[in-house]
């Protein structure tokens, strides 16, 4: 590890970059990804094709689409967990790999991925340990983050003593521990029951409002995408591409009532229709709405 990496901002949320207003947080240009076949005779799979997408600071962008549409691959490409075959991924104006080394990301997976040999607090401290923060500072920061997800009482519990929803909240606290610019979430609530999921949605919105972090959120739930997002990016499969981008013009501060607004239902319907169009009558799908210009 280099000295430069250790000195990355850690204990406080990253201050907004000077260029915040001009440089988008994420800029995808002509991104394609082809998975080469692992066995002979199999065909290469075009997971992503011609993806253009711009995400501005403070946005909450959901990626939605049928399974196999490459939404997770796209998220992983943004986070430099996978490479792209073509095109460029710029994060905070630098290549994704550099952004990862600068620890601009917080990742949350579908599984909480908590380490059972660590207490809840120690799990949240993990990223702070990696960048070499002193114990006292780590403890203070872990406390802060766990209070944020309302698990302050559970600091010394073991992960397996918590429910699935609580474990996922610990994972979110850990992802926020370094004060990342961008929170990348890969179907984080996909394994939870509907009731817990709705509660977690509210919780996440509250955290998003308080931290001002940019969120990119993969989901296969239309209501979840509409409820959470400022924009919903609709994708289609084979090859994975963006077929529509829906601006969610619901009131900024949302609560349980939001799910009963007429506009909410309209937007849910709008996204559902986009998804259906994306599937198309034939597998080729001729009548696609391209995303060009919609990201502005």
């Amino acid at each position: 590890m280099t000295d430069a990496a250790i000195s990355a901002p850690a204990a406080t949320p990253a201050p907004a970059a000077v260029s915040a207003t001009t440089v988008p947080v994420v800029q995808l240009t002509g991104v394609s990804k082809v998975f080469q076949p692992t066995s002979q005779g199999a065909r290469p799979v075009e997971a992503l094709k011609g993806i253009d997408l711009t995400v501005r600071r403070g946005e909450f962008v959901s990626l939605i689409g049928p399974s196999g549409c490459g939404k997770s691959t796209l998220l992983r490409a943004i986070g430099d967990l996978t490479s792209v075959t073509e095109g460029s991924v710029a994060v905070n104006g630098k290549p994704a790999a550099q952004a990862r080394r600068d620890r601009d990301y917080g990742m949350v997976f579908q599984a909480p991925v908590l380490f059972e040999w660590r207490s809840v607090q120690e799990n949240v401290e993990l990223p702070l340990e990696i960048i070499g923060r002193p114990p006292h500072e780590r403890a203070v920061r872990a406390r802060e983050m766990l209070d944020l997800v309302e698990l302050g009482e559970f600091m010394s519990h073991r992960p397996w003593q918590l429910s699935g929803g609580m474990q996922q909240r610990v994972a979110i606290a850990r992802a926020l521990a370094l004060g990342p610019d961008i929170l990348l979430m890969d179907e984080p609530f996909g394994a939870l029951d509907e009731m817990t999921r709705e509660r977690m949605n509210l919780e996440l919105l509250r955290i998003w409002e308080r931290t001002g972090t940019t969120v990119i959120f993969v989901t296969h739930s239309i209501p979840e995408a509409v409820f959470l997002s400022t924009r919903v990016v609709v994708m289609s499969a084979r090859p994975g591409r963006i077929t529509d981008v829906v601006d969610v013009d619901l009131p900024h501060s949302r609560d349980v009532e939001t799910r009963e607004l007429e506009r909410y239902f309209e937007l849910v319907t709008r996204v559902r229709e986009s998804l259906r169009r994306g599937e198309g009558p034939s597998s080729g799908g001729t009548a696609r709405v391209r995303a060009e210009g919609l990201s502005a």
């Binding site: 990742m107 599984a111 073991r158 992960p159 918590l162 990348l184």
Partner: protein, 286 residues
């Protein structure tokens, strides 16, 4: 979650849910007694049945001595049995230390380098399936007929393969998302190794250690059958069996059994101390 083995990052285990503020406590003394009671009753009952059967059917002592006869012989010859046991214990512990250390080191290297893994692992798995004790007489020739070193080497080789194989499996058991998480933090290979791979491997290694505690005892005693000083459990058993003085052989067997069980329990206790999170993992990977 891709974890096939019960290790690494915790999959959402809703089963272990507790209410806010609930305190976890260990079993009380009464609960512990109740837990152990069936086993204790069975043990005492079996000894009593053994005693009764031997007496009722007047079984000859060279076929099966009664527990009381064994206990009497054990008490009578305790001094010489103790020195024999001490001699053998040195071999067992020495072999265990050598085999486990070598196994963990070899496992770490094997897990680290894919090339080594592809070359060495098939042989290790094959070697783990052959009866290594069959080499006991040969090891006695190589390392000295009545030295402790030759028995240590048999014990060490017996322990080596299970430890090495489980170390490799354990180090490679970390689920993909756990490794991606570390990657997203730009953690170095060393950080990932120490903070994810090593803790993931601990329960696997302890599973192998429990097996090794037993294997080392077997290896040392069998090695002694083929040549050792008279003050060793193996030779003691061989000698008094040939004199048809089976109570004394049984006295030595009691010591060998106690040694195997004692080492096993020691490993379990150390595991609880070192890796409490894996303590309930007795059905762990083999």
């Amino acid at each position: 979650m891709t974890a096939a083995a019960p290790s690494g990052a915790s999959a959402a285990s809703a089963a272990g849910t507790v209410a806010a503020g609930a305190v976890l406590r260990g079993p009380t003394f009464g609960e512990r007694v109740r837990e152990w009671l069936p086993a204790a009753v069975l043990f005492v009952g079996a000894l009593a049945a053994w005693e009764v059967i031997v007496r009722v059917f007047q079984i000859k002592q060279f076929i099966l001595p009664s527990p009381v006869a064994i206990a009497t012989a054990w008490w009578t010859y305790l001094p010489e049995l103790s020195s024999a046991a001490a001699y053998t214990l040195v071999e067992v512990v020495g072999g265990l230390l050598i085999g486990v250390t070598a196994g963990i080191l070899a496992g770490a290297v094997t897990a680290r380098y894919a090339a080594v893994r592809e070359a060495a692992l098939p042989f290790a798995v094959a070697a783990n399936s052959i009866p290594i004790v069959a080499f006991a007489p040969i090891f006695n020739i190589w390392f000295g007929l009545d030295t402790q070193v030759s028995k240590m080497m048999i014990a060490a080789v017996l322990c080596f393969f299970p430890v090495m194989i489980n170390t490799v499996r354990g180090l490679l058991s970390a689920p993909a998302p756990a490794l991606e998480l570390m990657r997203s933090y730009a953690a170095s290979d060393r950080e990932t190794f120490l903070r994810v791979r090593v803790p993931s491997a601990v329960p696997y290694v302890f599973t192998a250690l429990r097996v090794s505690a037993t294997l080392a005892t077997i290896g040392a005693v069998i090695g002694e059958y083929f040549g050792a000083p008279k003050v060793s459990l193996g030779q003691y058993i061989v000698t008094y069996s040939s004199y048809l003085n089976f109570e004394r052989s049984w006295g030595a067997i009691v010591f060998a059994a106690a040694m195997g069980i004692g080492l096993y329990v020691l490993v379990v206790l150390v595991e609880r101390l070192v890796a409490p999170w894996a303590a309930d993992r007795s059905g762990a990977p083999a």
